[in-house]
Amino acid sequence: MPFYMGIFGFLFCFGLIWYMFWLVPIGFIGLIACQISRLSEKEPEFTIPKAEVEQMERHR
């Protein structure tokens, strides 16, 4: 997802800088679509418990 977002962001900015205005709405709509799909993820945050961090650190 961050990869596609980067692509659309690149298209958006490239279009603006080089006056290719047909490219601008494509990039912008793509960015909005990426945002919506990112916000639709069921589990946007998770917590790593203390015990697990300790275990991982001990493994090293």
Partner: protein, 193 residues
């Protein structure tokens, strides 16, 4: 073992969002200070008394206040879990916000067509910077509202979405407060004093 903790203390998020709002407040206070300093720098051009139309600005204010009120009603419905009512109130909020934006752009285009664009004088530069920054925030808020509501439409309400909508509502009320200051400082004192 479940790692999912969607319902962690939302107050951290709200505090972070307040911090963002206060940085925005600094931005607006700088623009207000600039406007007050440059208000009389008309360079022989029209003054605020010649330009501003108080009833027009009052209509804009009422539209924005109404949209803030309906966003509050939408949140009440969201907290009750009444998704249909929430969508109806948010649709009304969007319409009121969009008509506010439309009125603001009408005013801008009238000024520019009369030859009073931001290039005319220091007063008009400061005016356009201040009011258009607010208008830009409103535009972003409208896009944000749609982006937030699509996932709610697809998956229904949950604690995470309530948290996001609360942040949005804080943003919307903040813009309303900023507009009240613009109405007082720019339009009211500009036409009466």
């Amino acid at each position: 073992m479940s790692h999912i903790d969607v319902f962690h203390d939302p107050h951290k998020t709200y505090f972070g969002f307040w911090t963002y709002l206060m940085t925005d407040c600094i931005l607006f206070s700088i623009l207000f200070a600039t406007y007050i300093v440059l208000k009389d720098g008309t360079f022989g051009g029209p003054t605020s008394k010649d330009l501003f139309d108080l009833p027009f600005a009052l209509t804009e204010t009422l539209l924005l206040l109404a949209s803030s009120f309906t966003s509050g009603l939408a949140m009440l419905d969201a907290l009750k879990g009444n998704t249909k009512g929430m969508f109806a109130w948010f649709a009304l909020t969007f319409l009121l916000g969009a008509s506010f934006l439309g009125m603001e752009l009408t005013e801008f285009s009238r000024f520019v067509h009369e030859g009073n664009s931001w290039e005319r004088s220091a007063f008009l530069s400061a005016f356009f910077t201040l009011v258009a920054t607010h208008g830009f925030h409103i535009t972003m808020g409208l896009i944000w509202m749609v982006v937030l509501l699509v996932p709610v439409f697809l998956h229904g309400l949950n604690g995470e979405y309530i948290k996001r909508l609360t942040c949005f509502r804080m943003f919307w009320h903040f813009l309303d407060v900023v507009w009240i200051f613009i109405f007082t400082v720019v339009y009211l004192t500009g036409t009466i004093l």
